[in-house]
Every structure is written in structure tokens, then in C-alpha cells.
Assembly symmetry: C2
Homo-oligomer: 236 residues x 2
Amino acid sequence: MHVVVPFAADTPKTRLSEVLSPPERTALARAMLADVLSAITATGHVPTVLSTSPLSLENGCSCDDLPSTTPPGLESASDIPVTVDDRPLTAAVNAQLEAAEEPVAIVMADLALATPAALSTLFASGAADGVAIAPGRGGGTNALVVRHPDFRVDYHGASYLDHREHAAEIGAPLESVDSFRLGTDVDEPADLVEVLIHGRETAADGGESRTATRLRELGFELETTDGRVTVARDRS
Amino acid sequence: MHVVVPFAADTPKTRLSEVLSPPERTALARAMLADVLSAITATGHVPTVLSTSPLSLENGCSCDDLPSTTPPGLESASDIPVTVDDRPLTAAVNAQLEAAEEPVAIVMADLALATPAALSTLFASGAADGVAIAPGRGGGTNALVVRHPDFRVDYHGASYLDHREHAAEIGAPLESVDSFRLGTDVDEPADLVEVLIHGRETAADGGESRTATRLRELGFELETTDGRVTVARDRS
């Protein structure tokens, strides 16, 4: 299986601009990418990063500490292939689907809660000529596996519903993958809560995920007000 | 397994008051309860409703059309036992845990996306003397299975983290159940989006869930603005 991780290298995570500066958003996006790449390699697959611009995984990714169950041929993070395609997400992903000669998995780079277990379930899902989708909040397509040669993505709007419809049109059986972890993408300040709550369960070694660690370094902590949990940032 | 569904019968879903009147909130809460009870009965378990006040399931629940895989002894919705306990949620649930002589599952009544498959996975999770929790957004405890005799709940705040800590204190192994469907409780207007997106996959018969149908009857439809999906209400 060809596992592709699209990554917006240039202006990542603009919806977090209320709480994070541009360099902080870049650092957080890199930490999430590193967590996602680690989780994928721990399933035994070698991911390909589909980046909007050239990217050094060795120096900017902080994913040099790959899991011990690294797939053959992957010695360090710098061995993870990076494909540069500066087109919008949908066009870049469809180029990957068109060129593919094997099943393709597309895993978003901001699935900071992704675990090897959740990804393994995803990769094993879907019929031999079908499509499997892990939906996100608001009808997003957070991760999918494409085994039908004619399936193409369109990430605009409620893409999960559009992808269901498209799959039905081309006769591709569609399976919905039920995962809270894959369903949680980090786009908005409220999503940071999930990283801090679940970050310690995400890392394979029982430690904390890179994303959670980075958030704490930036001063974020959980805060409970009126029975509801939010994040607060200490800028001292 | 004793499956308990706590239900706030009197003033349900106050956080939806921006978009729904009190009688509409009551109707929506009843539809969600009916969907949850149907999904539980389809797993072969007889749920008990733990209600804050007396409740007629036959006339107010719209769950008279039980699934065909109804457990033995459950002929109609009016056979679903209702226990009335007007104490706050935590106290009422802990009374159930204290009295239990078998494993107890607590499933919130607003898990409108719950499917028999997701619930079956939950019910089968957790060690013989442990606890299994399906967390919700913001660290909530949306559903759990308790097999350790000393485990007690506390639903205030980030209850998922508190429950993890409590389980560790009493030596109960804790398993986190990874489910988008069980992780989605319907509390706020933004959650209604999920009901409309996934409602058609939720009903066992391939139709639409009662909750989604009720929302459409109330005039709610999905709306895509700037690539993001919200609900809009047509009050005409």
C-alpha cells in the first residue's frame, strides 16, 4: 500500500492564528507530521510526504526518533520520501491516485491522535475494489484507503458525503471507519484540548506525543471552567 | 451485563437553547434516547433507562419500532425498564454501580450516532476486573463498561482523565475505546451537523435515524459555507 501524507509546508494551520504565531504554527504542524509519520511507520508501512514545498524531515521534523518497529529500508526519518507538489490538496492527491499501481492510503498530517492501532484498522478496511474513509468532525475526510482505480478525491466542503456519493456512482463499495482518533484533526483552538487529553496515550512508548509536548512547551495547559474543558496559555 | 442509559427527562439539552425551544429539545432528546435504546437492544442487551423522573417509553419515546433482533423478553419499548432517580447524574450512576452484581455499562442518552457495532465493541472491551471508556470531545466519558467492583464515576469536568486516574488508584486496568460514533454526543448546535451527516448510516435498516429525521422535521439542513459545514434552520 502506498501511504501518502499531504502536508502544507508553507502557511500551515491558519485557523490556529488566534492562539499561535506563524513560527509556532509551523513548529506545531511539524510535530503533528512527525507523530503521524511515526504512527504510520509503526504499522510497517513507509509513508510518502506529499508536501507543497521542499521539506527536510531530518532537520525540521523532529521525527528522527522513529519507532523501533521501523519498516525495512527505513533507517531514519531522512529516508522517508518527500514528493513536492505545489498544487492545491485535491489536485495533488488525485495525481497520486492516478499514478498509483497499488492501493493508496491518504492520511492527513494533522491527525495528532493517530495511533498505529487506529491506522492498522484503517489500512485493513474496505473491499478489494472499494474505498474506506475515516470521517472527521464536520464531514471531513481525515483518512482514506482507495482500492478502486477510478476513485478521485474532492476535499472541498462536506467531503465525506461527496466521497460517499462519488463511490456509489462508480460502483465502489464504501466503508466508514469508526475512529475517534482518526476523526480528530487539529484545526482550531478547541482541538488542542484533545491533544493534551490524549497525547500521553498516543505515543507508542507510553511517553507523550511530540505534539502534546510541543503544546506544553508553548505554555498550553488544560483548564476546567464550569465543568467544561478548554486550553489556557501561560505566556510567562 | 447491566446496561444503563441515564436520561435527564425534565430540562434536557439546555445548551441547544439557542436553536431549539424547550418542547423541541424534549422531542429531540426523546428521539436520541430512542436511537440509543434501539442500538443497545440490537446488540442483544436489555437497557435500563435511569431517568430523573417517571417516563413513558411507549408514548413519548417513539421507540416502539424496536429492531428485529430484540433480546428475549423484550416485546416492545414499554418492556424496557425505567428506574427513576432524581439525584444528579454522578450520584444516580454510582448507586447503580454499588448495587450491581454483574458488569455495568453506562451509555449516555445523547449518543445519537451510536451503532450496534460500536456498542458491541464497547461491551466486549476492558479486562475482567477493569474499566473501558469511550471518551467524547473535551474529555467527557460518553460510555463506559465497569467490571471492577470499586470503580465509581464522577462526571464533572474532564471526567475521562479523572476516571483514568481513579482506575489507576484502585488498580483497575483501563482501556480506551476508539470510536468516533460513541465519541460524538449531541450537546451543542455544532453537534447537530454530525447527526445530519451520519444519521443515514446509523439506522440498522438503512433508513435514517429518528434523531436525524426529527431534526429535518424541525427544519434543519446541512449548509456549506467557505468549505465548512454547519446546520441552518428553515423556519418557514
